[in-house]
Symmetry: D2
Subunit: 293 residues, 4 copies
């Protein structure tokens, strides 16, 4: 074929399959969202419309890619988690990451008018996202990653809530507020909010304090049940990697997953309770569909 003279250039593509049997976290981040949030007038410290749009896009990604077991979002970032046994796209890193980034972007742009009906997008300032994949060998590492993001959410939200209250309600300049907050710890900020502005931080909306957790909903397990307290076995990798078996079985499981509703929650994912009551997330075995929705 005439093409053969140039086809050798295909040899320059390098394989990028991710290590088997490790958790894959794909985290995406808004590109230049600081500037973008000014441009489109995002409210400070939190813009509920923007968060709801992020969550709506994340739900679509979860529906599209049934291999995802959970996602966690805060501000303009979202982390999507593939199970260690995931074989999607032969675990090719670039393919996994770009598919998530592109699908998320598509829905974000498409749904924008729903969440910002009065603020049309301008072609010179379209939102976009970058992304990366990170591997976590053990379930403990994955749990720590999720905790890291949620602690970060809390720290940033407490700071931002205090800062913007000082500016918006206290009439301080940005610089003055920043200077006063420098070096303060959590209790200091809680104190400022409460004594000066009568705000009890605990009463702030959960979505701001906890971020957003997205997952497939099945019947919750009793936290004391055997199912719940058993450590999820990540170990039995041999069966997970026997690809012939899993091809048909995976398709079956995929269908089961499509039947489950994808929900958005704003709850603690640092403690064990969340995970014990939803054992399907770490085990990757679909639970029972709720009898009534």
């Amino acid at each position: 074929m005439a093409n053969s003279k140039y086809e050798y250039v295909k040899q320059f593509e390098q394989p990028d399959a991710l290590l088997p049997n490790a958790w894959i976290v794909v985290r995406i981040d808004g590109r230049g969202f600081h500037k973008l949030s000014d441009k489109y007038g995002f409210r400070k410290p939190n813009d509920r419309r923007a968060l709801d749009l992020m969550n709506a896009a994340a739900v679509e990604v979860m529906k599209d890619l049934t291999d995802l077991v959970i996602a966690y979002g805060v501000s303009d970032e979202y982390s999507f988690v593939f199970h260690p046994t995931c074989q999607l796209f032969e675990r090719r890193c670039g393919k996994l990451v770009t598919t998530i980034v592109s699908t998320f972007t598509a829905h974000y742009i498409f749904k924008w008018p729903t969440f910002f009906p009065d603020t049309p997008l301008e072609p010179s300032s379209l939102p976009s996202f970058d992304g990366r994949a990170v591997l976590y060998p053990t379930t403990a590492n994955l749990r720590d990653y999720m905790s890291w993001r949620q602690v970060d959410c809390h720290i940033n939200n407490l700071y931002n809530t205090t800062f913007w209250t000082m500016v918006q309600k206290g009439g301080m300049t940005n610089t003055d507020a920043e200077r006063e907050l420098k070096g303060t710890v959590s209790s200091d900020k809680n104190e400022i909010l409460f004594t000066r502005f009568g705000i009890n931080y605990n009463n702030e909306p959960e979505i701001y304090k906890k971020g957003s957790v997205v997952y497939r909903q099945y019947e919750l397990e009793d936290p004391n049940s055997a199912e719940a307290t058993n450590e999820p076995k990540q170990e039995d990798a041999s069966s997970a990697l026997q690809k012939d078996i899993s091809k048909t079985q995976q398709e079956k499981i995929r269908k089961l997953r499509r039947k489950a509703r994808v929900v958005v929650d704003h709850v603690d994912i640092i403690k064990d309770d969340f995970w014990q009551r939803r054992p399907w997330i770490l085990s990757n075995k679909p639970g029972k569909l709720p009898t009534e929705e």
Copy 2:
């Protein structure tokens, strides 16, 4: 800080900077566009609206990322080329690829209604793209990559044009047309088009035969000038990598590039002429802005 207990998980992120002084090609491909083109009624063998939309999105990517020197698109794929001296995002592979994929997707979705005014997107079937980066050490390799894509465009378009003419004008079934075309060479297909349907393939639109080339427009060089016939020197890597110097200079060059118009051409990029008349593409040194536009 309370966060420190979990922050160790950042150590699992692995560096992915691409080898310095090599050409970077980021190729993106439509995900499931075969099905999608049915869904939205793309015309066969080529849908001009769909190609124009691809090109419009590519132009925006070129404008946004001034480090790109050229792009080439055909069907639902687009290849974007960074110069060997490119330092954008410290050449981090994931960052470069996802930024292009996301920016392209954003514009594709945003501009869809302009090019398909009568065919609104459906949320369950949004277009999306995946992408990958490939390195090419030498200019000859890069040129061969570009030639590979354009030869591929030609081969596919000749086949598709013949096939769909046989079906649409010749009333053949897909299976029959496929069977007859099996094993034919280019001249056979030209012959079928001409003798049976009076179609001279050479007169088909250039956009279908050559694909689309996107680049910044400066004054063309005389192909016999010294500038044009000198091989572009990729070699002087040391200066390119002296980052301190290039930071300010890069910013200056970036501004110059923003002034240049990004154009879409449908021309031969296999022969030398295209490159000799546009030496700025391989040299990465901005040319002269046209005196009148």
Copy 3:
């Protein structure tokens, strides 16, 4: 400095640190040992001198690199295992692998005259080894890797023992023996050995049947003790990765390890018993030194 003009070439070195908290197996293989074993007259099916030399070199590698927790050797290959918490050379892949390969080679060459006093090495046929690193995310994966090598040892040794007995004692040609063994299962080979040659394979030396396991010796645990039956916790990665703490502590642990004797065993490592009685291997916490040696 005059050097600066060229120093930019250092930027082309690419990082290769291995994923944290995963087991690292470095397997080395003899280069062209088939030819080499002919050259130096290795005995068939096993040459005890050659195996003892491999083991002696492996023991020196284990002594030199105290971060290694276990090694397993068979024929002309050896697998060396670093614990998930290992920070040696910042887990740089190339550094870890080449250090093991070079240290092993050095001792192999140096000790050759001790094990082959009548067969001097010839400069044109010096033994050498290549090596690679493989990551295993979980302890179950690592155990399966070790089992894989030991099962391989068994399969090959049973075949080789039968083949060479048929040739050496049975007077068959290589081709005839090979043909007869084709398609046989283990029991067939046992039967051939026993009925034709009066050899009970079970009585063959353990070193041939089981390969060689190299590790630091502490007091064995009672297989029913809490220490032994507790699954080793790989999970607490955060402490393992807090490098400041571990620097001094690691040095202390290193000293403790140097005091332990490195032993060569020929035992089953597939069943749990081996690992339960030697919990220090998977936990990486030094055990009690034997009170008398």
Copy 4:
């Protein structure tokens, strides 16, 4: 087969083929040679025996791996260069690096008694080497790498020669000599050597000033010939990568290379002359064998 249950662990091995059509430099370094040179009484500032041993080992590596085109050694390091068209071991990084490291180590240990007849190796202090591979996309980059090492050789040797002369002949303490040399430039050191000790640095042995260059010897080209002044074409990658063709041809070229003598030179490799007179190094096409040796 009984083995299949565990064989899945092979899937954890990750490919590591190096980018095609780029120069591969494998640099090896002595492990802990500072301590080792004290242990075995290496002479300061240069131990001719140790350098000759390094060179002898490098010559054997060059003979063994005919794909190597040149090597450069200084002190306890050696850089081995594979041509961009090299297909050895399918360009697998680990395989290339460990093979060089192991082969070098084997010869270094084996030849030690020849170069240090009165200083036997001790098993607890065997020399060993680590190694890494670095890619260079262009010939200019490769030349710059080689220049970098030779400039480094010069800078270190001038410093060490001056320092040890001050200590050994000038009776200064190490600390005093170090302090006096701090901040000096080349001319200062030349001056110290000449005025205080009557030593003209230019008359020092070339092996110390220039390091050691190892390559296959063919008939030198006239530096003004067409062959010599033509830039080596790295570009025609397509033919180099057409593996079927090159398999037999490579074997033929390999044989031609084995006939050439591997020589050790101590000459300037920064200027063009060295490369122009030996065009086979960069072109990878064997030259004419000298008519008489």
